[in-house]
């Protein structure tokens, strides 16, 4: 037990403690409603959707970028899957192919984002913001602006609607995906490279890392998990519609930021993201239980995000030795090489 691990555990415990605090507050003020099984179930159901998105959206954030198109990608993937299943008879095999197709659309979107962001000096938030519009448009074209119901086959509706031992199936999916993402991020070379590129892209390049490939893969993963979330959502609602998952990117962003991820890159953890998702879920739930009208949700989340980002900017501004302003500006290493100042 040395100084570093104490520090590390200290930061690690921050989030769970905050969560515990929020839970305690809710438990004290609304014990009757809050501490029921049904309530927990509805919290978990909500979390399972954007929680899935968080599992993949954390990768672009770790690189110092962002994927704002997750909600739109979810809607598009959900629509694609449902349409495919419905139009090919609704057999079990069509479910499998349909899900694959839906996931593929998500990956495709992610790959396009990754390509653009890594090939040009363009700000990821703007690209994915514009892309969000495009993808919602695609979703609308797919669904013809109608609601597309899907009530069978069971193999599909079970994805979002089934349950095992009283726990919704979507939670199991979230757990599996979260675990996989955790392993990817913490136990593979790719995960290590993500932190390296996000922490210092120049040093990463000088260490032989293929920063372009890492970026591409990161956005692809984000697209993939968004697609997963969209498919689960469509299954849960038993319908696909063009404006599904609208506003979820807010929750994802809030979850990641409160979970300790830094928008400058290089800092963040999957556990943190999951805790953040849980926190957002609790906040939503708590506000509802306390009778706060839903309009106030946006305001609360805005304040939460601002507070979390300001806090993280403050702490990391202190620790990191690098000056970070606009990340997508070209790293003008060779070109503007005028003589550097001699120290002293």
């Amino acid at each position: 037990m040395n100084l570093d691990s104490i520090k590390k555990w200290g930061t690690r415990l921050q989030m769970p403690l905050i969560l515990l605090l929020v839970i305690l507050i809710l438990a004290i003020f609304q014990p009757g409603i809050f501490l029921t099984f049904g309530n927990f179930r509805s919290i978990l159901l909500a979390i399972s959707i954007y929680g899935l998105m968080v599992c993949g959206a954390i990768y672009p954030i770790l690189l110092g970028g962002i994927d704002l198109a997750v909600g739109a990608t979810a809607a598009m993937a959900g629509a694609a899957t449902v349409l495919f299943i419905v139009n090919s008879g609704g057999s079990d095999s069509s479910v499998l192919v349909g899900v694959m197709a839906g996931l593929a659309t998500g990956v495709a979107a992610g790959v396009v984002h990754g390509l653009i962001v890594s090939s040009f000096n363009v700000p990821p938030f703007l690209i994915t913001l514009a892309s969000m519009n495009i993808i919602y448009g695609i979703a609308q074209l797919l669904t013809g602006n109608k609601l597309i119901p899907i009530l069978k086959p069971k193999s599909f509706t079970a994805i979002g609607g089934g349950s095992l031992f009283g726990v919704p199936s979507s939670i199991y999916i979230l757990l599996v995906v979260a675990t996989l993402s955790y392993l990817l991020l913490n136990h593979t070379t790719f995960g290590r490279y993500v932190y390296a590129v996000g922490g210092n892209p120049v040093a990463a390049k000088m260490s032989g890392i293929n920063t372009r490939g890492v970026t591409l893969l990161a956005y692809a993963i984000s697209g993939l998990t968004a697609a997963m979330a969209g498919i689960v959502l469509a299954s849960m609602n038993q319908q696909a519609f063009a404006r599904a998952a609208q506003g979820y990117e807010t929750n994802v962003l809030a979850a990641l930021v409160t979970g300790g991820a830094s928008l400058m890159g290089g800092v963040g953890s999957l556990q943190g993201g999951m805790f953040g998702a849980l926190l957002i879920g609790l906040i939503d739930n708590g506000l509802r239980l306390m009778g706060v009208p839903s309009q106030y949700n946006g305001m609360v989340k805005a304040i939460v995000v601002i507070a979390a980002v300001a806090f993280s900017a403050y702490t990391h501004h202190r620790d990191s030795g690098l000056a970070r302003t606009r990340r997508w500006q070209p790293i003008r290493q060779t070109e503007n090489r005028t003589a550097r100042k001699e120290p002293l």
């Binding site: 000096n121 700000p123 703007l126 913001l129 495009i134 979703a139 074209l141």
Partner: protein
Amino acid sequence: MRQDTVRRLVSLALLAVLVAIFGFTTDSFFTPANILTLLRECGVIGIVAVGVTMVIITAGIDLSTGALLGFVAMLSANLLYYGKLPGLVVIPIALVVGALGGYLNGTLVTRLRLPDFIATLSTQFLFRALALILAIRTSTGMISNKTINDRTIQLLGGSVNGVYLVTIAFLVIAVAGQFLLKLTKLGVYTYAVGANLPSAELSGINSARVRRMAYTLTGLLCGVAALFTMGRVGSVTPDLGTGLELNVIAAVIVGGTAFTGGRGDVVGTVIGTVFMMVLTNGIYKYNLPTAAQMIILGSVIIVMVVFDSLYNGFMHRRAVQREKFAAEAVVAS
């Protein structure tokens, strides 16, 4: 030829091509009625775009403009309906509230050091939530869109000799904005802060103040736009202004103001605004679904941002090359 001149020609060319396409493939494009309508549509977006131009020149961004417009409009509607205040009182209040909203953005960015997109994204939720909270409801709690009966406000939606007031306002504001950018100290400092912040500060410029100014001005213009929107539409719903920010950003980018900062002007933004409106108008004439509109809007932004990055990067590399050649070998004896 200078870089900004070339870029201006690009914007003009894009507009010309678009006008040609829609002009000749749809009927009733070049009719005075259509053109006046088009110009009216430009108004609201254009007014806000003037402010956003300044913000983007400082290498910032504002994603909260639509929500701020909606909030100011809703607040004004409340004052008119519940507060029974006359239009002449509500108008200055709207402007002040708008400016305050912009100032909030500026403060978050300069004092709390939040990245601009996060700050304005957050304030977008904030303003939108406030608009929802303030929504005028019927006794059963449903959101109603009571018509605005105030004469002054209604006047704003009117026209003079067929030219809509909002268009005139847009032109006046555009001229003022261009004047500000090119003929005042604040304008020069805006470019300086956006092009090279450290150099600007070394020269004694207070970059924080310049940036706050840009955001505040944008907020004020959102207030102006809100008033005109109320005049034109006649009622206020909480989702007023949704999606405005992307249209504004598209207009500004098409017009030549690059994200990296330090470049562009209001003239370009005017061209860009007209471009976006012709595009919207054309899509409507072609009877394309709204989905197409969304896809095209997003694509325009991505294409223009990528183009600017490539073009500016290319010009920068050329300048560096020229420099190397002119240096005639840092070498040679």
